[in-house]
């Protein structure tokens, strides 16, 4: 069987690895449009600026990965056409490849807003290795750097450049930083920490004009503030690379539409990673995820389904993030904002706030659907698992905010009645662990 994977990042590579573990004989080919000999981790690019890691550490698989798993890898091959009828793809370099099963893991690209003069020099996006090289090359001439967008990527690059001693300002159109991941209180912890270290924030603002003749010199914000800037980095979100799927008449909305088996409207084409949109159990709406962990797990599930194992991917949560900026560690998962349009009577918020510590848990119908943890983040994993489980936790409600609310609460006979092994994170249901539970709790 010829299996073709388009995209060599989290989803594509984890799918290839899983496919090879399951089937020793199939032909697996990976194509990427990027110019890199080995797959690298996009999430690590910001760490390169501050020398937290060396250049050779951005590769997330060992050197001999492709040989070891017997994979064919082509870089610099942008796929421009999928012929679903005759089952082949065509690349920009006129390469034609046949497939029996095709996995689209093309990821996402930076969203570029429409602003006058956006095509001037020294304006960059930050999504690929190429962007990193461009920014690095031009850093010598830069002094004042403006970052548009206080999302996850924007903050990471601002943090890294601020560490290098640049004058960094962040422009965000929402009234808080990290609008998707944090609530007001939580984002304030992070904002304050970054402000203390010298990053300037301009909230409730957007850039309405860019000044400069050849290179960028100033940006003008919506309240007519003029910010001096030698470099502008645009981090105002990502959009899925779905054009190729759209041109092939596959169903797309926000992203590529897939079912629970990660199959698109064509039975031989699958999707995984940032490109797909799925039903999010916490917000009850379809959404694309930008999370590395989600992409890897979707890649694994897609691999199972490509080989016909019919593995259902469910309990998807789009937003999950964890960060460490200077002394503040923060994690969030699921739905943390309650909108006015939601039925308020179903929702409950438990929270605790101290000087250096914040914890917020959002419940809907006695089930956890989201949380924020600042500085004491050890419980994050358990709470994430409880979101995925959609377990009724009314019994534990008063204990939820305790520091010692850990997995130990669930090594208990009572846990059995939830039929926990039916729909839980994979690593909770392996035989060894079940044996161990039997051994431990006498069930």
């Amino acid at each position: 069987m010829n299996i073709l994977i388009i995209g060599a990042s989290a989803a594509g590579i984890s799918a290839a690895e899983t496919l090879r573990k399951l089937d020793k004989n199939c032909n697996i080919t990976i194509l990427t449009k990027e110019n890199c000999n080995r797959p690298y981790s996009k999430s690590l690019l910001a760490y390169l600026f501050s020398n937290r890691i060396d250049l050779n550490k951005i590769y997330f698989k060992p050197k001999n990965f492709f040989e070891k798993y017997n994979l064919t890898y082509f870089n610099n091959e942008e796929v421009i056409e999928i012929d679903r009828k005759n089952k082949f793809i065509k690349t920009k370099n006129n390469k034609k490849l046949n497939y029996d099963k095709l996995l689209l893991a093309t990821g996402s690209k930076s969203f570029i807003p429409e602003i006058n003069n956006i095509s001037l020099n020294n304006i960059f996006t930050f999504n690929e290795y190429q962007n990193y090289q461009d920014i690095k090359k031009n850093l010598n001439n830069a002094k004042n750097i403006v970052v548009l967008g206080a999302g996850f990527v924007g903050l990471e690059i601002a943090y890294a450049l601020n560490n290098l001693g640049f004058d960094v300002s962040i422009v965000e159109k929402c009234s808080q930083i990290l609008p998707n991941q944090m609530d007001n209180t939580g984002s304030y912890f992070i904002q304050k920490e970054l402000e203390n270290k010298g990053i300037k924030f301009f909230l409730n603002q957007s850039i309405i004009e860019i000044e400069g003749s050849k290179n960028i010199s100033n940006v003008i914000l919506s309240d007519k503030t003029r910010l001096k800037s030698n470099m502008l980095i645009i981090c105002s979100g990502v959009i899925p690379n779905k054009e190729i799927a759209k041109n092939a008449d596959l169903e797309t909305k926000k992203g590529l539409v897939v079912d629970e088996y990660l199959t698109t409207s064509d039975n031989n084409i699958y999707g995984a990673g940032d490109i797909i949109e799925l039903y999010d159990i916490t917000t009850k709406s379809s959404n694309c995820s930008g999370s590395w962990a989600n992409a890897v797990i979707q890649g694994q599930y897609a691999a199972y389904n490509i080989l016909g194992y019919k593995k259902r991917y469910k309990n998807f949560i789009a937003v999950q993030n964890s960060i460490q900026f200077y002394n503040v560690a923060a994690t969030s998962n699921g739905k943390v904002h309650i909108d006015l349009s939601d039925d308020q009577s179903n929702y409950e918020v438990l929270s605790i706030k101290e000087k250096n510590y914040y914890k917020k848990i959002v419940l809907r119908d006695n089930k956890i659907i989201g949380f924020i943890l600042i500085n004491k983040i050890n419980q994050a994993g358990l709470l994430s698992a409880l979101i995925k489980l959609q377990l009724d936790i009314s019994e534990y409600k008063e204990k939820l905010l305790y520091d010692d609310f850990t997995y130990s609460y669930f090594i208990d006979e009572k846990f059995e009645q939830y039929n926990a092994y039916a729909e839980i994170p994979d690593c909770w249901k392996y035989n060894e662990w079940y044996l161990e539970r039997k051994f431990c709790a006498g069930i």
Partner: protein, 150 residues
């Protein structure tokens, strides 16, 4: 495939396993010196409390571990021979993004300052010892190493 097994009924919560774990993973190999260097003690085995019952939580070195899937740098890896999940034994490097902490349902991963950089720490089955320190330290034979064959 080796696993740590817990015999809950025998545990009375002395936390000697935690102490042994801290000492084993410290440079000083001595608790008093360790505290003198003013470090926050970081253990990789956690004796938790549930309804006044002590419950030791250990890393399960899961088969399809979520911490491995979540790791953005690829440093969290499963050893092919021993099936031990570790993040400090690979060509990649932990950058302290805490995605493993966010995904581990057993909450047995913690953060520690290593060479001025925060990194994730977890049970490594005591790489330099034949029998893990916690197993040796337990006075009541609560923790034991059992070989599971699939």
């Amino acid at each position: 495939m080796k696993k740590l097994f817990i015999n809950l009924e025998r545990c009375f919560g002395c936390k000697r396993c935690e102490l042994a774990c801290i000492i084993e993973h410290s440079e000083e190999k001595n608790y008093a010196y360790y505290l003198l260097n003013q470090k926050e003690p970081k253990t990789r085995i956690f004796v938790e409390n549930y309804l006044n019952r002590p419950i030791p939580l250990v890393c399960h070195h899961c088969k399809d571990a979520l911490c491995i899937s979540a790791c953005i740098s690829g440093c969290m890896q499963k050893d092919e021979k021993t099936d031990i999940v570790r993040n400090d034994n690979s060509e990649q490097k932990c950058v302290g993004c805490w995605m493993c902490i966010l995904n581990c349902p057993f909450n047995v991963i913690d953060r520690e300052m290593k060479n001025d950089e925060l990194q994730a720490i977890k049970c490594d089955f005591c790489a330099n010892r034949e029998i893990p320190a916690c197993v040796e330290a337990c006075p009541n034979e609560v923790i034991s190493v059992i070989d599971i064959n699939e």
